[in-house]
């Protein structure tokens, strides 16, 4: 029997499908005869009471979740997400740098320092990477600081706005698609395969369509998913580390390009668990036994 904790926050519990997912984690633990407590940020001194911790709260190196990850690691216990994953995934310069170094296909990407965000640089980038260009603040999440620009004027204006958040700007070739693939991986194993189909006339998963509708989540079993999709997703996860990831990919001319590796991927009941109800058990087992928990399972 292991003592497990899920570190979570009020806003997670406020979402009914995320709350149900938390309950599903706990039931999975109970079924395997483990204890599972929820722990909040005013209770961190009790982290030492647990054998392993799962983080289900927004992650950022400057948030309490990172303190949790580092504290549990310093206790020598297992934690998802690892602090390395939080640190790498929350800074797109770090994240894309690792993917690139590992030979994982990503859109053509440039990183600019503040002095390099000029009309002349913009003109050159439009010539070499095409138009539109996608600009990102390194610490964007939920698409909040990701924008598409078609003119040098907009490039400089949006670029300078994003530079208020960080001393680097990410500039990327635009790869259009009608949906994002999301593959949830854990230490080299695929746990779920999801498609987020964009709202009409939207180009980002989080963006609402003209009629206010949001993206539609559909899942498939990993046995039905394209083999090449899973191969690229696993390679992308491995380029970051051996934690829990949501790898976002676009299908371009029959091949796959990684748009992002997220630490702390959303797992909401009736959404990401549709075709993979065992995702909760998979994660609980891993918390207890690590990669050995995959042995003898397909």
């Amino acid at each position: 029997m292991a003592r497990l904790a899920i570190f979570t926050e009020r806003y997670t519990i406020r979402s009914s499908i995320e709350l149900t997912a938390l309950s599903n984690f706990r039931m999975a633990a109970f079924e395997l005869d483990h204890e599972l407590d929820f722990i909040f940020k005013n209770e961190l001194k009790y982290l030492k009471n647990y054998d392993a911790v799962l983080i289900r709260a927004l992650t950022d190196p400057l948030n309490t979740s990172y303190v949790v990850a580092r504290a549990v690691e310093m206790l020598g216990r297992r934690v998802l997400d690892t602090s390395d994953s939080i640190r790498i995934c929350c800074d797109k310069v770090n994240m894309y740098g690792r993917l690139d170094a590992a030979g994982v296909p990503i859109p053509v990407t440039r990183y600019l320092a503040p002095a390099e965000v000029t009309p002349a640089a913009a003109t050159l980038l439009f010539e070499t990477l095409g138009s539109p260009l996608v600009l990102k603040a390194p610490n964007s999440s939920f698409s909040a600081y990701v924008d598409k620009v078609t003119t040098t004027e907009a490039f400089v204006r949006v670029g300078r706005r994003f530079l208020r958040r960080a001393d680097r700007l990410v500039v990327q070739q635009y790869l259009p698609s009608e949906f994002d693939w999301r593959v949830i991986t854990l230490h080299g194993r695929v746990l779920a395969v999801v498609q987020y189909r964009f709202a009409r006339d939207a180009w980002k998963a989080m963006q609402r369509g003209d009629a206010g509708e949001s993206a539609v989540t559909t899942c498939m079993s990993r046995h039905e998913a394209p083999a090449r999709l899973l191969e690229v997703a696993i390679k992308a996860g491995a380029a970051i580390g051996d934690s829990l990831y949501g790898v976002d990919l676009k299908e371009i001319d029959g091949d796959f390009v990684v748009i992002e590796v997220n630490d702390n991927p959303t797992i909401a009941a009736t959404e990401e668990d549709q075709a993979n109800p065992e995702i909760y058990t998979d994660i609980v087992r891993y918390l207890v036994d690590g990669p050995a928990s995959f042995a003898g399972r397909d």
């Binding site: 005013n42 950022d60 190196p61 303190v67 001393d167």
Partner: protein
């Protein structure tokens, strides 16, 4: 000259024996001094890591030092003295306290002298309970010192040993250190940026013999 120099190789004699680097290759010191998350100094270290250099600080070191509760855990694991502390969102321990917010907007610590000070700052520091605050308990007769540490060296003789152990622990070539001084011990409270341009000539002199330095 006041522009921060780039990355300079550390003199081998200055490399603490506890560091796990390959000593056949140079260990580069990033002398920017402000290693704040996603800032220029942080990216200089990240760029160096990607180029395959052994660099201090790594971006992990930089964050460990910046996030106060993590800094104290790391310090304690390296036998550096730390105050008693607690992370809270609502119920603060008794004053006097040093309170450091844990949120993406500010790491600026505040001195809360008495119960009234806690009451008036509770909501502001936690954004009405939304974010955590790291509270350090201040012992009865203490004093707060702020010390500049340059590659583990310090201009104040009584701080030389403490400065060396902080450099060994945190690996920041430049740091401003907030210290809680009690009669028996120095306790680490927080590490703050020490931008290169803020170094006085006496501080810069500490770099002589530590890195290739024009003097």
């Amino acid at each position: 000259m006041s522009r921060a120099p780039g990355l300079l190789p550390l003199e081998p004699a200055l490399i603490p024996t506890s560091w796990d680097f390959d000593l056949e290759r140079p260990v580069l010191a990033n002398l920017h001094g402000d290693y704040g998350y996603l800032g220029e100094g942080y990216y200089r270290s990240l760029d160096a890591e990607f180029a395959g250099h052994q660099v201090v600080p790594s971006v992990r070191d930089a964050l460990d030092a910046l996030v106060v509760p993590i800094a104290l855990l790391r310090a304690a694991a390296h036998d550096v003295g730390v105050p008693e502390s607690e992370i809270v969102t609502d119920r603060f321990p008794p004053a006097p306290l040093l309170a450091y917010p844990v949120n993406p907007f500010s790491t600026h610590g505040e001195h809360l002298e008495d119960a009234a000070a806690i009451e008036s700052r509770r909501k502001g520091l936690t954004y009405t309970g939304k974010y955590a605050v790291h509270c350090q308990l201040l012992p009865p007769d203490h004093r707060i010192d702020v010390v500049k540490v340059v590659v583990g060296r310090c201009t104040v003789p009584e701080y030389e040993a403490f400065a060396r152990s902080l450099f060994a622990c945190f690996r920041l070539p430049l740091m401003k250190v907030r210290v809680i001084v009690t009669t028996p011990a120095y306790l680490l409270s927080a590490i703050e940026p020490l931008p290169f341009r803020q170094l006085a000539p006496v501080d810069r002199a500490l770099l002589e013999g530590a890195v290739p330095w024009p003097g």
